[in-house]
């Protein structure tokens, strides 16, 4: 287990390095840098910057020197000081812009992940155990549709019905009268009232994909000789299902954190945009549009790091749950 853990952690470090390189490339892709943008802004305001001001600014933000030196400055600032650079648009350090929203993003994603699991598991198991039943066909059809529909389209359809039936769209995570209130039952109910649309919209593709995987895995497992053997010995059907195939079919739950999490984060970009959630998605989009690259790059990096950590957790859980995976690496 220690070796397995070591491998995974080492691998995560390499992934993080690659991600940081990629984000750095993305930050540097648009022409100009933070100081040129700043200079242009001061020029518009009528306060031209002198040459020495510019040189000083460049030095301060680590923008003098070649790309490699710039990368080194950027990454050491992040790792050692937690300094993600300055946001041009918000005129604040990036960390201050992202910080308050990160919690909401992770919160919404986590709750959605729980709901996704809670829905996908019973549906997937039902669909596999009752293969070829009416319910199975319904589930499979809805699953296909869920995977084929862009999640912003689902959001738009929800908004349409919400407007025509209730006359308004629940935007944000709380109603104005509850936002500043202390936590109590009313605020919780209000939060749930706002959360169900983003959850449904963000989670649909995840549920559809997960149901499909669980169903296929369980179907494979149910055809194994050990299931037939157990049946032949007279093990009751329910106990048999619970004791063996289900445990194996549970693996995808854990292993899919890796891909469900990015899916949820992406869903957040799209849904956050429509429903104006206080999450990272709208910030990312806004910063990309105004080419506020430190902010955009940092959001991409934070999303990627969250994904990578999620994948690491799922790998470790999987190794702990399933000895075949844990021991397979040692051979």
């Amino acid at each position: 287990m220690v070796r397995y853990l070591g491998r995974r952690v080492l691998y995560m470090a390499a992934t993080l390095l690659a991600i940081s390189l990629m984000v750095f490339v993305i930050i540097n892709l648009p022409p100009g840098d933070y100081v040129t943008a700043l200079t242009a802004k001061y020029n518009v305001m009528g306060q031209g910057l002198t040459e020495s001001d510019i040189v000083n600014l460049r030095h301060r933000y680590g923008l003098d020197g070649n790309l490699l030196q710039q990368y080194w400055h950027w990454i050491t600032q992040i790792v050692l000081h937690g300094d993600l650079g300055m946001s041009f648009e918000h005129e604040k350090p990036v960390a201050e812009v992202i910080g308050p929203r990160l919690g909401a993003t992770i919160g919404v994603s986590f709750i959605t992940l729980l709901v996704t699991w809670g829905l996908a598991f019973p549906i997937g198991v039902y669909s596999a155990v009752k293969q070829h039943s009416l319910g199975d066909y319904a589930v499979t059809t809805i699953g296909f549709l869920g995977l084929a529909t862009p999640n912003f389209l689902i959001a738009l359809v929800f908004i349409y019905f919400s407007v025509t039936w209730f006359g308004s769209v629940p935007s944000g995570l709380c109603s104005p009268e509850w936002c500043d209130a202390a936590w109590n039952l009313g605020k919780l109910l209000d939060l749930l009232g706002h959360l169900w649309i983003p959850m449904l919209v963000i989670g649909t593709a995840g549920v559809a994909g997960l149901v499909r995987i669980i169903r296929n895995n369980l179907l494979d497992e149910l055809q194994r000789p050990y299931v037939t053997a157990a049946r032949a010995r007279g093990v009751p059907e329910k106990a048999l299902l619970r004791r063996y195939p289900l445990r194996v079919a549970l693996n995808p739950f854990v292993s899919t954190i890796g891909w469900v999490l990015p899916l949820l984060l992406v869903g957040d970009i799209v849904v956050g945009q429509i429903l104006s959630l206080p999450t990272l998605g709208p910030i990312l989009l806004g910063s990309l549009k105004s080419q506020d690259m430190y902010l955009a790059g940092s959001v991409i990096m934070v999303l990627s790091v969250v994904t990578v950590i999620g994948t690491l957790i799922s790998d470790l859980l999987l190794g702990w749950l399933d000895p075949r995976i844990r021991l397979g690496h040692q051979r």
Binding site: V23, L29, P30, T149, V266, L284, L288, V299
Partner: protein, 384 residues
Amino acid sequence: MSLKESEGIEPEAMTANPADVQRTRASQRELVWWAFKKHRLALISAWFLAVMLVVIALCEFVAPFGDRHRDSEYTTAQPQVLKLWDTDGPDGFRFGLHVDGYTSTQDPRSLRITYEPNPEDRVDVGFFVKGEEYELFGLIPMDRHLLGPKDIDDPMYLLGTTTDGQDLLSQMVYATRVSASVGIIGVLLAFLLGIVFGAISGYFGGWIDNVVQRIIELIMAVPSIPLWLGLAAALPSDMGPIARYFIITTILALVAWTGLAREVRGRFLALRSEEFVTSALLDGSSHARIMFRHMLPSFSSHIIAALSLSIPGMILAETALSWLGMGLRPPAVSWGVQLQDASKWSVLSGAPWLLIPGLCVVLVVLAFNFVGDGLRDAADPYKH
């Protein structure tokens, strides 16, 4: 009679059956086709996609109006119903294809103008009518359209109009060309990358395989939409629509090739130890020849299935990207660009037909998925 049923039958009985004789003599391609035909949903989807391809090729002819057509007199007008006869006219019953014209009413409070079909006002519609001039395939000058109003200035908006007063149907036909081709071209580009890296990785194995697989895992570890968004953000905003189209397609392909590379690698890895590969090697064939002349054709149907299954992801990505305003931009028109119109809820609540392009996305994505599934099942006709 399928091959499975005939397994227990006596040899003389088998040779007597002409269907079995045909089966044993059939080429692999024919076997794949027979297996594919049994998958009814896949077959219907394949026909649907074939029709779509024809529409894409003839899109100037199929669309009633050109892609720049704008009728500021009718903005956000309701869809019309195509009727074969009417009884409201001055001389009672009258036969003939037509739609109802519009009457406009202005809400006294919000000052918003709404257009509603008016049965009194008849707009005659015909096939192969004269309309806007265009060049078919960019070569043949024509002015006939498959379906359109007989008088070019009359309104015929079967799916309603956009907030700009453009015909939603015509726009959707043009958008289909853009969005579907982004998917297809993007997948072909991704496939080029995927096949090169997958083939090298799977064929040589060892440390090369290790390096390529690690790189692929790294790319897969990054959430794709933020990566796409980040790359697309670097494009200058004054870029021409055609250059933007190709660069967006390339960006999509650059992120999406990894799945295909894995598929190809797996196939190469499985075939590497087959006798025919060894004998080709002993015959002095070069590695490239063995890879692309001997091994690749033996699983081409699997590759086609994998290609067909990766087109939906590409289409969905382009739609999301364009809808977010980071992909294609007007005047280029794709499904995502069209759906931007519907993203303000004040507009959407009065004009649900603006969501119709979304239906198009779902149908096309489903069709590619079904065809891919059918092909994957049919790809190995000897397996039972």
